[in-house]
């Protein structure tokens, strides 16, 4: 659990606290909601309401590699829908899901800020641009291969 005391138990820091929490565990568990609401002296239902409002917060454990497919305008125009479908097909998961091994999770997001490289994805923050299906599958398989080596 992040150092909530440092945040001054000030309600306006709730989102910050949740962000810290997510950084640590990768998602916001029920237990985390209970702990944080106790710490901030808030009703759990209110904290849950905040968590579920913002797309950044995940309530299920994400995969080790978080794939974000950009569906910002520039990427969309160039074909991000196809990229998303390629990824879905290849991984066998839908948006917002994590695969069975817990390796990959998939999300569609708005502009990643690299429109000139569209279509773009990011995996754990690292951006890959100018994607084709081949390139995408290779990137994903490289991650998987690296994982299998370990």
């Amino acid at each position: 659990m992040p150092d909530l005391a440092a945040l001054g138990q000030e309600k306006s820091n709730l989102i910050k606290a949740l962000q810290e929490q997510q950084k640590e565990e990768g998602y916001i568990s029920d237990q985390a909601i209970k702990d944080i609401s106790r710490e901030f002296d808030m009703a759990p239902v209110e904290v849950e309401g905040v968590v579920s409002f913002y797309t950044q917060f995940k309530r299920i454990k994400p995969g080790k590699y978080k794939i974000q497919v950009c569906d910002g305008t520039a990427c969309h125009i160039i074909g991000s829908k196809l990229v998303l479908n390629w990824a879905k097909d290849h991984l066998g998961i839908a948006e917002g899901e994590t695969d069975e091994e817990g390796l990959f999770s998939l999300d569609a997001v708005a502009c990643l800020g690299c429109c000139s490289l569209a279509p773009v994805i990011s995996i754990n923050g690292k951006v890959y641009g100018d994607l084709t299906r081949k390139k995408l599958l290779k990137i994903l398989e490289d991650y998987r291969a690296r994982e299998e080596e370990v």
Binding site: M42, A43, V45, E46, E48, G49, S52, F53
Partner: protein
């Protein structure tokens, strides 16, 4: 606070700075609908049903949240404003899922409050049940026996297994308390109607008029009253002493005189009646058997004629010998089963389509089979002739072709498949038609033409029942009777009757609902439907004794526990429904996805049905700002927003003591579980 002036709908009003438009309007009795406003809590500004328009700038604003300004001019009732409000409601309804009214009640042509009398029956209050039933059904003993049970066909319980045996609740309640019960009636006003035809529609109309204080003289051409109840439905389904009891009740009500042997055109004249009475209702039924359109058909009995003859002879008739009944409807079944009781010979039923396509009730077919009838499907008669003392019916086999206009596959003849059969009696029970009296306008089907909203033909002449609808059922006749009675009352008050605009949100027909989408107030009993008990089969084959037996009180109570209690707890005080009806909003105006957020009935007293939540936010704020708790909140956002408790847990048991949020919820999303019949009864009483 300084005083300012604002104008709403042309009315200039004094107001105080800081007040909202809605407050000012309400203080001045100007009606603005609202859903998400509650003056105990801070603004929600969610529903936009309170929207108004600035007459000068054209700016739209929610009146509950916009403060008045000096000199402001507001439009709150222009067509544009009402259209915006209606659209807001249309949209809210399009994401709403619930059942305002139970499917059974909606399915009942007479809109008898089914769920309520089922509840009364379950609780053993059969007198109360009868009272609820009789608000809509003048002949509960008869209909409790012969209704084809439209309500059960739509009963939600079908999703799980078999429908609740609804009709048997009526039958028991009526059998138990018919003699004691007398309905509330208005004092007679002195107005009087003439009713032509003492069948279910005519007598039904007399009943509803009498309850409203209008007397009537009923004219019947046959020797005894009852119409189809007497002459169409055989004794073994509806014993005539039951009918006598129903008729006796009419006598007890007073103000209704039945004159038999009075035939229109001979003993009475339409014009005369129109002149002598405040209103005339024609309810002459459908008594003309339809033609088989085959050579020699005059040698056959018309189905309805056969039944009429049988009834008029007190169900004693010469042995018809080997009998062929042509047709597959309820009249055909009545003919088959009556014949079976009159002869030791074979009784056949010939129908040109398949068993599945027979319009007759399934149970009638089954019971006819049990009683020994022989069915020949895909068989069409083509001619009839006499050979000696036998009749010879020539038929052809059929097969199913392409679907016709009704969507059923059309039977087409199979080449070279003609065959002949001999019989002593042939009955053509393929339908009936209306014989409209001379000079009365009719439609393409030959039925009497009436205005839809008030059942009026012309002048002070009204019509109802089979002669308007074509051959139908008793309960439909009774439903028509109520409509015509309303039409007459309105006519006598000199306004056209406009049926109130009512909306019904529905979770959908049970066929489109899966078991995990069901919502109930408490877990229903798992038991199977109570089976109807019958008299011995031998007796059924020999006599006209009534075949089925009335449920016992225990059976009814058991059966009642199977009911899901489908209707909405908020039905009587739902603001969404109220405003939607006021503004003509329509649950079907927009179609689209409805999200199933589920419901929670774990709390002993409280139901949270998220599908009904309109996201107004009142409950959250009441709980937080008024009660100083924080037990409710919104989750998710956008179209996925839902009301919930922490981790979806049921509300704490203590909430029972407070219940502020439930009381404040404008709809049935958060509500007490109880549904009280008293409220229904009160409302029914108010309607009159």
């Amino acid at each position: 606070m300084s005083q300012i002036k604002v104008t709403i709908d042309g009315q200039t009003l004094n107001a105080e700075e800081g007040q909202t438009i809605l407050q000012v309007a309400r203080e001045n009795q100007i009606h603005i609908p609202s859903l998400c406003f509650d003056n105990r809590v801070s603004q929600n500004t969610s529903c936009f049903v309170c929207i108004v328009q600035d007459a000068e700038s054209g700016q739209w604003m929610p009146s509950c949240s916009s403060q008045v300004q000096d000199g402001m001019k507001i439009n709150s009732s222009t067509p544009e404003v009402e259209d915006m409000r209606k659209t807001a409601l249309d949209l809210i309804l399009s994401e709403h899922s619930g059942d305002c009214e139970a499917p059974c009640t909606l399915a009942c042509p007479a809109h008898a409050k089914v769920e309520e009398y089922v509840r009364a029956g379950r609780e053993g209050n059969h007198f109360e049940a009868l009272k609820i039933i009789k608000e809509r059904i003048p002949f509960p003993m008869s209909i409790g026996r012969v209704c084809p049970r439209f309500c059960e066909q739509d009963c939600r319980r079908n999703v799980k297994d078999q429908p609740v045996a609804i009709n048997d609740f009526k039958r028991l309640a009526a059998d138990l308390y018919y003699d004691e019960y007398l309905e509330d009636m208005e004092d007679l006003t002195g107005e009087k109607a003439a009713i032509i035809g003492a069948g279910p529609a005519g007598l039904g109309a007399a009943y509803f008029l009498r309850r409203a204080g209008i007397a009537s003289d009923v004219y019947e051409k046959r020797a005894e009253p009852g119409g189809m109840l007497r002459y169409g439905i055989p004794e073994y389904r509806l014993p005539k002493d039951i009918l006598e009891k129903e008729l006796a009740h009419f006598e007890k009500m007073g103000g209704i005189t039945i004159n038999c042997n009075q035939e229109l055109g001979q003993d009475i004249e339409l014009e005369e009646l129109k002149n002598n009475y405040d209103a005339v209702i024609m309810a002459v039924g459908c008594w003309q058997p339809s033609s088989m359109r085959t050579e020699g058909e005059e040698l056959a009995w018309g189905g309805i004629d056969y039944l009429e003859k049988l009834a008029s002879q007190n169900f004693e008739m010469e042995d018809p010998g080997e009998t062929i009944v042509v047709g597959g409807g309820n009249t055909a079944m009545d003919c088959v089963r009556s014949s079976l009781r009159l002869t030791e010979e074979q009784v056949h039923c010939y129908y040109r389509r398949t068993a599945k396509q027979m319009p007759a009730e399934e149970y009638e077919y089954q019971e006819a089979l049990e009683e020994g009838a022989n069915f020949e499907f895909l068989t069409q008669p083509i001619s009839l002739r006499k050979e000696g003392d036998k009749l010879v019916l020539k038929c052809i086999r059929m097969e199913l072709g392409e679907p016709d206009a009704s969507g059923r596959r059309r039977p087409i003849p199979v080449d070279d498949s003609e065959f002949e059969v001999k019989a002593d009696t042939v009955i053509a029970a393929i339908g009936q038609k209306t014989i409209a009296p001379e000079g009365v306008p009719t439609n393409d089907w030959g039925d009497v033409e009436v205005k839809e909203d008030n059942c009026r033909v012309e002048d002070n002449l009204f019509a109802a029942g089979d002669c308007v609808s074509g051959p139908a059922t008793i309960v439909e006749a009774v439903a028509g009777a109520r409509r015509v009675a309303n039409g007459v009352q309105a006519y006598l008050k000199d306004d056209t009757y406009k049926p109130p605009y009512l909306i019904n949100v529905s979770r959908g027909h049970w066929q489109s609902v899966s078991e995990d989408e069901l919502v109930y107030l408490q877990e229903p009993d798992e038991s199977e439907r109570v089976e109807q008990r019958h008299i011995d089969l031998d007796k059924r084959k020999q006599t006209f004794e009534e075949v089925s037996l009335t449920f016992t009180k225990d059976e009814v109570e058991l059966e009642g526990k199977r009911c899901f209690e489908c209707s909405c707890t908020a039905r009587e005080d739902c603001q969404l429904k109220e405003h939607s009806e006021e503004l003509g909003a329509d649950p079907e105006a927009f179609s689209g996805e409805k999200i199933d957020h589920g419901y929670n009935v774990e709390h002993p007293e409280i139901v949270m049905d998220r599908g009904k939540c309109i996201k107004c936010g009142i409950c959250i704020k009441i709980c937080n700002e008024v009660v100083n708790e924080y037990l409710l909140g919104f989750k998710n956002r956008g179209y996925n927003t839902k009301i919930d408790t922490a981790f979806g847990q049921p509300l704490p048991v203590d909430c029972e003591e407070c219940g502020e949020c439930l009381e404040a919820c404008p709809v049935g999303a958060l509500d007490w579980k109880v549904k009280k019949n008293e409220e229904i009864l009160k409302k029914l009483a108010e309607e009159k």
